[in-house]
């Protein structure tokens, strides 16, 4: 995944802060934010995850004119027959599934509205182990570097995904 242009916007920061239940005025109120040490609105620490909004190829967002794998007439769009000559939707559930196992951020500076980021992601290590509740687990790591409009590295993110053999037992 590479994102060419991820504009950091004040409205998006508000929506994100609300979603993670964070009432800190530094995310909502420019005047209040001026009185803080950073001196202006910043983004919450996990905000860069929403760069997915700006990734043209991101598979977990319905795309206009494309079939989606979530429920509609059927529990999954993946269960429905593909239209003639058409593709089945990507993704889908059933049996094993891909889950997020770890996420790590290193902050070189904090983000402000008006920043325009770009990111590049490189694959990292892969490993396997036998899980207690979900069968064989296949882990894969990726490292994403977020750079600002001046090409400066602002956040380094390391993500670990896991593909489980079956649904996690509760």
């Amino acid at each position: 995944m590479a994102v060419e242009r991820f504009p950091v916007e004040a409205g998006h920061i508000i929506l994100f802060a609300r979603a993670v239940g964070d009432k800190n005025p530094i995310y909502y109120d420019e005047d209040a934010a001026k009185q803080t040490e950073p001196g202006g609105i910043i983004a919450p620490p996990t905000f860069v995850q929403s760069g997915a909004q700006f990734d043209a190829d991101y598979g977990l967002r319905p795309k206009i004119g494309e079939r989606w794998f979530g429920s509609g007439e059927n529990p999954s769009g993946s269960n429905a027959p593909a239209p003639e000559g058409g593709d089945k939707p990507r993704g889908g559930g059933g049996g094993g599934t891909g889950l997020h196992a770890e996420q790590h951020y290193e902050y070189h500076r904090h983000l402000n509205p008006g920043d325009v980021l770009s990111s590049t992601t490189k694959p990292g290590k892969t490993w396997e182990r036998e899980g207690r509740r979900a069968g064989k687990l296949k882990f894969s790591e990726s490292v994403t570097e977020y750079r600002d409009q001046n090409g400066e590295l602002v956040i380094t993110a390391r993500s670990v995904g896991v593909q489980t053999e079956r649904v996690v037992e509760q």
């Binding site: 998006h12 929506l15 994100f16 609300r18 979603a19 993670v20 239940g21 964070d22 800190n24 530094i26 803080t36 040490e37 950073p38 910043i42 919450p44 620490p45 996990t46 995850q49 929403s50 760069g51 997915a52 909004q53 990734d55 991101y58 977990l60 967002r61 319905p62 989606w68 794998f69 979530g70 429920s71 529990p75 999954s76 993946s78 269960n79 993704g91 889908g92 559930g93 059933g94 049996g95 599934t97 889950l99 997020h100 196992a101 770890e102 996420q103 790590h104 951020y105 290193e106 902050y107 904090h110 390391r158 649904v167 996690v168 509760q170």
Partner: protein, 140 residues
């Protein structure tokens, strides 16, 4: 607002309830803000009938975001230098989560002061859902 090295000791803890009775609507709100519309999180019919889960469940990143709210309340605005987590257990609607940080080390590096924290977020049954670590710049 920011923490002071002189006030901190290894083993100090800070905890906050970061969500009570997590709603499916908040999970949808997170999907909308983050852009992760995976129907395992937002589509009960898909999660149960196609995914095989007992119900739709929260994004791991929502648990991390909620944990981050406790963390930035504690260390102050713009002070985090590192924040990492491992998702140990899924979080389902109805969850009440408590995020806790424990001081692991207070140290000085190139004239700047830092605190290293371990993090643990637990659900209403006392099960750990997120474990992690963080580092923040602090005052002397």
């Amino acid at each position: 607002m920011a923490l002071k090295a002189s006030d901190l000791s290894v083993g100090d803890t800070h905890e906050e309830v970061v969500v009570e009775d997590l709603s499916r609507t908040q999970i949808v709100q997170y999907a909308g803000a983050s852009g992760d519309y995976n129907p395992l999180h937002t589509d009960e019919k898909f999660a149960v009938e196609a995914g095989g889960y007992p119900t739709a469940f929260a994004h791991g990143m929502l648990s991390m975001g909620l944990t981050g709210t406790m963390l930035t309340n504690y260390v102050g605005d713009g002070r985090l230098t590192k924040f990492g987590v491992r998702f140990s257990r899924q979080v389902f609607p109805g969850a009440t989560l408590t995020a806790k940080s424990t001081v692991e080390a207070v140290r000085e590096e190139d004239g700047e002061h830092f605190v290293d924290l371990t993090l643990s977020t637990t659900n209403q049954d006392g099960e750990e859902v997120v474990q992690g670590s963080a580092t923040a710049r602090i005052d002397a």
